[in-house]
Amino acid sequence: MRIKTDTEKCIASGACVLACPEVFDQDDDGIVTLIDPSPPDALYDKVMEAAAACPASVIHVEP
């Protein structure tokens, strides 16, 4: 899986970090950063949960 983030739309809610801290982090302003843009498939459910939790539709997951 490959993750893309549209950081310009990020509103720094941190929802992704709460859902999947293995993959998502925040910079000092709270904007999403990726610890791992191609995480192992074992994290798929958590990544999808993070994408769903984002209130600004910033996270897109490609197979």
Partner: protein, 399 residues
């Protein structure tokens, strides 16, 4: 018939319900019914980037083109639900079509209160993309905007309008705008920010009426005292009402929206999510309806998963935000009275800080000012507390 989930309302909450159905592996078919035509979009940018014109409207889309194509076969757009027969389990839409369901998700949202001024040329409300486009056009060359209502929407529009150089008066009934939701300190910081950016903030005043000139066009706003403010544009942002008119005869429990249990169930096979939904509190007494973007995602997804028979996500402390000028303000959990607030990060008179609300030394909520990263840690803690409370059945400290 095979199981069919019908989701009425194609905003963030309705789409999250669809997402929950899919993620949960729902075995039946589903249908999403939306009143507006075309791509579902997100509302928070409407008062900010879309209104400012810094984003193309397509940036506010809730789906990518590929995701929208995937949704298409299950999406009936341009149709408004007009009636519900709970016994026959049938929804009727404004084109006369009837649709049977086994589960119905009500996600019809809210509509702005217009104060009876919707016929006046120059008076706007802001809820839909069409509203945002029309207000955006009206800001061009606007001589004087009066924003009636100093809640989040009104304050955000005032900030956006100042950003494009429009003179703004912000009229708010309460003497302390936003203090009820942000606490006195942060609220006064926000008001100061508006004043510094040149907004004429008139707190403690209501609109008495509007004065129109030729062709019913707006000329001025009368206050509740003798003052008259020149205005060629008014935004009425005094709140919204749940869109439940189509449910009045249905027998679905209605009280400040659709009244639901703590899982979003209003009646057998009937659920409600998002702005229209008034859920029983999971961790205390009473019900709560919140018009917040994050709630839309959480409730929508949770109900979608529930209908699919999948495990439900952990409960989360409420969270909302507002962005005005260069201030990003976030609130999580429940803020208690002002005396319960104390600084836990930074200096409350500085440009980055967090205040936390305590009840008997237990943190009940936090409010952050340009402190998004720090806030995430507090939210994790609040979520953890909530999960423990729900497991042990203890009521919240604050309620």
């Amino acid at each position: 018939m095979t199981n069919r989930a019908v989701v009425v309302g194609a905003g963030a909450a309705g789409l999250a319900a669809v997402d929950g159905l899919r993620s949960g592996g729902y075995g039946g078919e589903f249908l999403l019914v939306g009143e507006e035509i075309g791509m579902p979009y997100d509302r928070p940018p409407l008062s900010k980037q879309v209104l400012a014109g810094t984003w193309d409207v397509a940036r506010a889309n809730l789906l990518s083109e590929a995701e929208f194509e995937r949704l298409r076969p299950n999406f009936c757009d341009g149709r408004r639900a007009v009636a519900l027969d709970t016994r026959a389990r049938i929804v009727t839409t404004d084109d006369g079509r009837t649709t049977e369901y086994t589960d119905l998700v009500i996600a019809t949202g809210v509509s702005p209160i217009s104060l009876g001024l919707d016929g006046v040329d120059g008076v706007h409300t802001l809820r839909t993309l069409a509203d945002a486009r029309s207000l955006r056009a009206a800001l061009d060359g606007c001589r004087s905007l009066v924003v009636v209502g100093g809640g989040f929407l009104g304050a955000e529009v005032a900030a956006t309008a100042r950003g494009v150089g429009v003179p703004v008066t912000l009229l708010e009934l309460s003497a302390n705008p936003l203090a009820g939701v942000l606490g006195a300190h942060v609220a006064s910081r926000v008001v100061d920010l508006h004043i510094r950016h040149g907004v004429n903030v008139l707190a403690g005043h209501a609109m008495g009426g509007v004065i129109t000139g030729d062709d019913n066009a707006l000329a001025a706003v009368e206050l509740d005292d003798t003052r008259v403010i020149d205005a060629d544009l008014v935004l009425v942002a005094v709140g919204c009402r749940p869109d439940i008119g189509w449910l009045v005869e249905s027998g679905v429990p209605l009280e400040d929206g659709v009244r639901c249990d703590a899982d979003g169930r209003a009646a057998p096979g009937i659920w409600a999510v998002g702005d229209v939904a008034n859920w029983r509190r999971r961790d205390g007494d009473g019900f709560v309806r919140r018009e917040h973007r994050m709630i839309a995602s959480q409730q929508g997804r949770s109900v979608g998963l529930a209908i699919a028979g999948a495990p439900l996500p952990s409960p989360q402390a409420p969270f909302f935000w507002t962005d005005q000028y260069d201030a990003r303000i976030q609130v999580a959990g429940e803020l208690g009275p002002d005396h319960s607030l104390r600084a836990v990060h930074g200096d409350p008179d500085d440009d980055s800080f967090v205040l936390a609300s305590f009840d008997n030394d237990i943190m009940t909520g936090v409010i952050g000012w340009n402190a998004a990263k720090v806030m995430t840690g507090y939210r994790r803690q609040l979520n953890q507390q909530l999960i423990e409370r729900v497991q042990t059945g203890e009521p919240a400290a604050s309620s």
